[in-house]
Subunit: 197 residues, 2 copies
DNA sequence: AATTATATTGTCACAGAGTGACAAAAGTCA
DNA sequence: TGACTTTTGTCACTCTGTGACAATATAATT
């Protein structure tokens, strides 16, 4: 059982590369179609046609049509969780939260384009907006757990759960503001301003 | 064109009464089935069968299967919005928010049973949880607007949008805590404690 | 009470999202 | 090359949700 060591950072097996390419192709085709004909006006079949694959195969890349929109947010939020589990143990909860959320803001900031496209589509329907909202907040419980287990307990004037939720809200509202205004301002800076409750 | 004046408070036309009864019957049957076989394990057809109606008619009472779960929250939140539009104009934003959210807490408190049933079902799947989350927060923009238009502007140390979002979060987290603990505590009191940022 | 008008319901037909099963067509490795 | 493992397409199917239209029940009018 020889380990499948990636030859070079970009090579990494034909299969892996094709997979990533397919994913990207689907995403691009889908977002393009959503902009043209609306989210609901675009069927999975049409997306699949656009990248010349069967709709069955589409569902092997994405669990649902909605995943095309929420996947990006989910993967960013996931990184926040990863960071939470890598924080030095002597960090305090407040410091930890600050680090994690500013880091997240940085990640979002680097993907403004893609995020904006998705945001605009999601605002077309309540069901999609709900998905967006959830994608950002679903890590809340896990984040609480990670922080509670790893970080130095602190005499907080509020419970951890609420504190985490407040940070999430700050991030969420700040992102929305930042996406809705045209001029490119610094998301990280805006968040920092808001994290002083 | 004689006005359709309701004869007595409970009479109010046969149609109206039947409609409400049907709605309630559907809801009860559905929640019962959800508890027995799970949300996804229950089809609309089965719900319709349980109350002896066609599935087509079910969709005339509820826009979607999910509405059975989120409808309750939505109607409560809607009342908060109503109240916002009835607040005396000389109320300050902070006072107004306080009044509205404590009122909402009161409404939720009176419906703990029904809410708990729905909450437990919603936690079965991410998609449902997302719906729940959204149902509580979707009034945010309208609430902001109502407050901005009607209430006495105040020198706030944070913007209205964020302030409203924070109240929403406080309400949400407090409700979750309150639903998850067995002993019946006062939701209103807990919220009041949290509304001191 | 008989008769309009109006609202509700059931039936039918349909489109779209997902999913399981299995065979065909890749890619991988010796 | 040949044996092995993934990935893909096809097919069949369930479920949600909707438009159209006829049948039925309720309401209003005389």
């Amino acid at each position: 059982m020889t380990e499948p060591i990636p030859a070079s950072s970009s090579a990494a097996g034909l299969r892996e590369r094709k997979k990533k390419m397919a994913e990207q192709a689907i995403t691009e085709a889908a977002l393009h179609l959503f902009n043209e004909k609306g989210y609901h006006g675009t069927s999975v079949q049409e997306i699949a046609d656009a990248v010349t694959m069967s709709s069955r195969t589409f569902f092997r890349y994405f669990d649902s049509k909605e995943d095309i929109l929420s996947g990006m947010i989910r993967s960013i939020q996931q990184e926040g969780l990863t960071q939470a589990n890598e924080l030095p143990t002597e960090t305090t909860v407040r410091e930890g939260l600050r680090l994690i959320f500013l880091h997240l803001a940085g990640l979002y900031e680097r993907q403004r384009e893609g995020l904006l496209v998705r945001y605009r589509i999601a605002k077309q329907s309540p069901a999609l907006a709900s998905l967006f909202l959830y994608a950002t907040m679903e890590t809340e419980p896990e984040l609480c757990q990670a922080l509670a287990l790893r970080l130095k307990p602190e005499s907080l004037h509020m419970d951890l759960r609420f504190l985490v939720a407040l940070h999430m809200t700050a991030l969420r509202v700040t992102i929305e503001d930042w996406l809705e205004q045209d001029e490119e301002s610094s998301l990280t800076a805006s968040l920092e301003r808001r994290l002083v409750f």
